[in-house]
Symmetry: C2
């Protein structure tokens, strides 16, 4: 049995619950602590069943002694919580961004290097069948040599809770939304970022304080690859889905585009949709990582890299200047 | 009868021929000069019928005395040819880019200001029913306040003739392809560019010399609007059309996207295709401009603006630095 603690319910813990439900007898929930007091006991039990509740995060780590702690708290608390787990050699599966400032990032990176445990960010887009199929096809040479990529996320804004309204609790739209695109650009291209020029704007955000409603970034990557991304919170209420997630990969022999949950290849032979599958979800991948199993999709180093790049992209947007990696 | 001369057949003169054919008795072709000697007399006659041929451009302007000269020569010759027409108060309908360097641009702008004649660039995308419908819908408030735009052109490369291979004859992919996107971003948003960070790369261009196979640009515009564009020559041979032309306009109340010749709006009421129509083509618009008719779509000032911005975007890409307008 793999012993799990869950700390907070502000993020994407759904894949954890799905994995527990799909693998009876494999996981044991040994502790829970809410993000804040507003989540009542009835809601806890609905989500997780009856399990030991703790009032204090460190006490939970010490007493429940989990194999993995799932951190789904507020963005500004992730780094400290992740570091406390790593210091105890407890694996930490953490909502992205792992940190919302570079100072915390370097502390987290040091804690990871000093620990026997793994850290994984909830970069779930990699595990979405459309993006995973794009990755696989590119890796297998479907587009030839990758030359240019562009990626997009457009979300419905709705009414977001307090912690989205302030940079010091939310981080930024680049760190919260853009990080997925940063990770996809990196992962699918197989290249590393060399510099970025980014922008963002919190105008017309429907009373969401400092939350940026738009963001763009222009990257150069190793190998002379160009990349760009856009994020926005303007997906209309009448749109058929919450998010419009896309990537387009332009290569010397073909172009792949992910759009509307489909992955389409155009090459010399014409245009066609590729079959979309993914071997396992993000949480399962992290469990496999902690058990040193083969064919890991997202390493700790990748989780840290996407986090650091996102912070640097945000810094470029804040200063409207080129940031070199 | 409107007296026309045609100088060169390297560019998009098709809309001129279409307009002549569609309006019998309205236009008279009074002179022709080829871009170079490789275009033989048989090909001339196939294209234009029997008409007076000249060996020298200035001689043609002086002797044929046209109302409009259509300049479709090589990119590096446009500015000088346009200036010679403007100096004679002859209206000049010219393949874009009007010039391929800023020095020529300023000479052209001065010639335009000193002339009684008009200058128009072949910025034909404005007249494509899909883009024109996007423009009309945005102008009528379909997306609310425009917040972000991104535009794309992806072309089949094929085998391009010699003048595409050198910066000093071709200009650049940003000036040749990107100028359309620059013009669309400006025209549809109703905003002006404030700065740009651009990139381009001539790697892996299938033996096309200095021709850039990819280009990206990140713009800020007045009103806090963000814009971006990508261009490439990697559209595969098997693609159903020569070009993949797109724009996406993100506003506070809706999102419009032009793709696959369709114009789609998403707003609170859901997602639907808008009817696509355009009142007249690019050449007809220019003729109307020279006759001071109302409801002109592309002014001389707009043609000059798109040209100047494209040159500055190219300069940003060359220097990999921010250029302020």
């Amino acid at each position: 049995m793999i012993r799990l603690c869950i700390a907070g319910t502000s993020g994407h813990y759904e894949s954890v619950l799905e994995t527990i439900d799909a693998n009876p007898g494999r996981y044991e929930l040994v502790g829970f602590i809410p993000s804040d007091a507003s989540v009542d006991a009835v809601e806890h039990e609905r989500l997780f069943g009856i399990l030991p509740h703790f009032e204090n995060y460190e006490e939970m780590l010490n007493e429940a002694s989990p194999d993995i702690v799932v951190v789904c708290s507020y963005n500004h608390l992730h780094a400290e919580m992740a570091i406390k787990a790593l210091e105890r050699d407890i694996n930490v599966y953490c909502e992205k961004p792992l940190t919302i400032n570079l100072e915390d990032y370097y502390a987290l990176e040091a804690a990871y290097k000093a620990s026997k445990a793994k850290v994984g960010a909830m970069l779930e887009c990699r595990f979405s069948p459309d993006f995973y199929s794009a990755y696989t096809a590119v890796k297998n040479g479907a587009v030839g040599k990758v030359r240019m990529l562009d990626a997009r996320k457009s979300y419905k804004l709705g009414t977001r809770p307090w912690h989205y309204h302030k940079r010091k609790t939310y981080g930024s739209t680049i760190c919260w939304v853009g990080i997925h695109l940063i990770d996809l650009l990196y992962w699918i291209s197989g290249e590393r970022f060399t510099d970025v020029f980014a922008r963002h704007s919190a105008l017309d955000n429907f009373r969401h304080g400092e939350l940026e409603s738009t963001a763009t970034a222009s990257f150069s990557m190793t190998g002379g690859v160009l990349a760009s991304m856009t994020c926005d919170y303007y997906r209309p209420g009448g749109a058929p889905t919450h998010g419009d997630d896309r990537i387009r990969i332009v290569g010397t022999q073909g172009i792949i585009e992910v759009m509307n949950d489909k992955c389409t290849l155009i090459d010399l032979n014409g245009q066609r949709d590729l079959p979309c599958t993914s071997p396992h979800n993000c949480f399962e991948d992290f469990v496999r990582l902690t058990q040193n199993e083969p064919d890991i999709i997202l390493s700790s180093e990748d989780s840290l890299y996407a986090t650091k790049v996102a912070l640097q992209v945000c810094s470029s947007a804040d200063t409207e200047s080129l940031v070199r990696f």
